[in-house]
């Protein structure tokens, strides 16, 4: 019997927020073999592919008022790949192709962060930029959130390159 961690992102969605990072955070808290029971205000189809990449099968059932309950159950042999495919924004339409691409892998910290913030500030509403880094940019995230940017990120299959996609607020 699979145990499920309840994750209710309906308040975040109703407030117009981006629940992806919350779901990814929940994912990291799971015990081996544990799944996620997700509550959302719509059927989160693009998320199914992201979760399948991470080794989770899904089953969705509609609730009242157009809301959905989705069970993500760990598959028998989860993939070991660590990365999050940062290409889909499952909460709305897919994100546009990045209008700026940065390779910040060989810059001395904190220069990668400075350049990403500078480039992000030039984006038109809804545009995205992508950046390659050597580390998870933990000090950058609070700055992005404070400015209303959305972001997706994860290590690529090589395990050492971190790809970050940042989207300007609409």
């Amino acid at each position: 019997m699979t145990a499920y961690l309840d994750v209710d992102v309906r308040p975040i969605l109703r407030a117009g927020g981006e629940p992806f990072s919350v779901i990814m955070a929940a994912l990291e808290k799971l015990e081996p073999g544990q799944g996620i029971r997700l509550y959302a205000t719509f059927k989160p189809i693009p998320l199914f592919a992201v979760m399948a990449d991470k080794g989770f099968a899904h089953s969705a059932k509609p609730l009242e008022g157009g809301e959905w309950e989705v069970l993500f159950t760990p598959a028998e042999t989860p993939k070991t790949e660590q990365g999050v495919s940062p290409s889909t924004d499952w909460a709305s339409a897919p994100w546009p192709e990045p209008s700026v691409k940065l390779d910040n892998r060989d810059l001395e910290p904190p220069e990668p962060m400075v350049r990403i913030l500078a480039a992000a500030d030039q984006l038109a509403p809804g545009e995205t930029l992508s950046a390659l880094l050597r580390r998870e940019p933990v000090f950058l995230f609070p700055q992005l959130e404070r400015r209303g940017f959305r972001w997706l990120g994860g290590f690529l299959p090589d395990g050492v390159t971190y790809e970050l996609t940042v989207r300007a607020p609409l």
């Binding site: 990072s21 955070a25 904190p110 220069e111 990403i116 913030l117 500078a118 580390r135 998870e136 609070p142």
Partner: protein, 445 residues
Amino acid sequence: MIGGSLFRWTMAYFAAALAWLLVALALMLGGVGYPAADIASPDTLVLVHAVTIGWLSLAMCGALFQFVPVLVAKPLFAEPWALPALGLLTSGLVCLLAGFLALGGRLPLALWLLPVGAVLLVTGFTLVVVDLGLTAWLRPTGPASFVLVGLASLCATAAFGSIFAFALAGWGGSAGEAVLASGVPLHAIAGLGGWLTLTAMGVSYRLLSMFMLSPDVNERQSRITLATGALAIAVTVAGGALAIGLASGMSAVLLLAGVLGLVSAALYGRDVAGIFRNRKRRQLELNMRIATLSFASLAGVAVLGVALIAVGELAAQVGAFTFLAVFGWLSGLVLAKLYKIVAFLTWLETYGPVMGRTPTPRVQDLVAEGRATKWFVIYYVAVWAGTLTLLAGEPGAFRLAVAAMTLGVAGIIREIVRIRRLADVAHPLRLPGGAIAPHLLFARN
């Protein structure tokens, strides 16, 4: 929120730690404790605990509260505990030192101060250990696993220390007396070797590779370094406690722990050499150049230890050995890293909110390395000279060396305060529109 926000009280912890370092240096200058007094005397206990709890432990806690959440990419388990913990540790240390002064006849005989101090310290350290431990436990790999072993060693150190405090007050019973009679080396090894050294090693892996653009040390490799170090501490604590229980000698246990400790230090040296060798950044910043002096001192500690055992002098020279470990390896590394950490956090706090919107200074614009180099060099030359004067049994020359150390530390503190005040940032960039000058003792967000 995912990510590394600024921990509010890091600067307060650092300030308290530096104040205790100055207290300890003043005590040595004034001829309180070893080498003027016996190494087991109450005066020496005052000095040792001002350094290890006041200076090193508070500085380490302040750094860990900021960096453990960064290591595991999760928020701190309970940020509101940090300031009460600082209050408990400070008041507990004051009580403990007053108790030692009473023990030595410098204050009226009020030995109950020792257990009271121990209880306050244990309460404060419990807040720290639970807070950091539950945070690090979320992703117990790499540097975070060193921190977890360090915290476990801190618990063992505090347990021994509490038993000593109750025994010295006459409340320990016969078991307490037995632990007090032979457990002091266990307390010291768990504290200096386990808590302070293993934690410093773990944090240094990440800081060194981050600031030198070097790949992280291979997890399997660093795990062996940690396992050897953890085994050394476990052998010391468990084997030592067993030896006390059986009322047998402890030299076999300490020898085994020493060999394991030596292997762990050698493996750490190999790991650090790898980080330096694989770095993309050829030019080293001041804090890295100074850190190499700290690594050299750690190697010196290992060589000195082996040499003293070979000539049968370790027991007689344990003061010089400990002095080099505490001031050459640990204090030097912490001072060098404080210099960098304060600059980085101050830069992030001040310029993060306006970065990308207006020109901002670089982190290196906050520091004046040319001026700071001089103070660090004075400090290190003085520490090595101090070690030699202790080995040679020259207390007068030792106080001269301490005077030079104090000068170096005062200079470094002045540089750190100038960083925090943005005193070296050129004017048009210093406070661009929207940037707010940081407070000296806490972060605003």
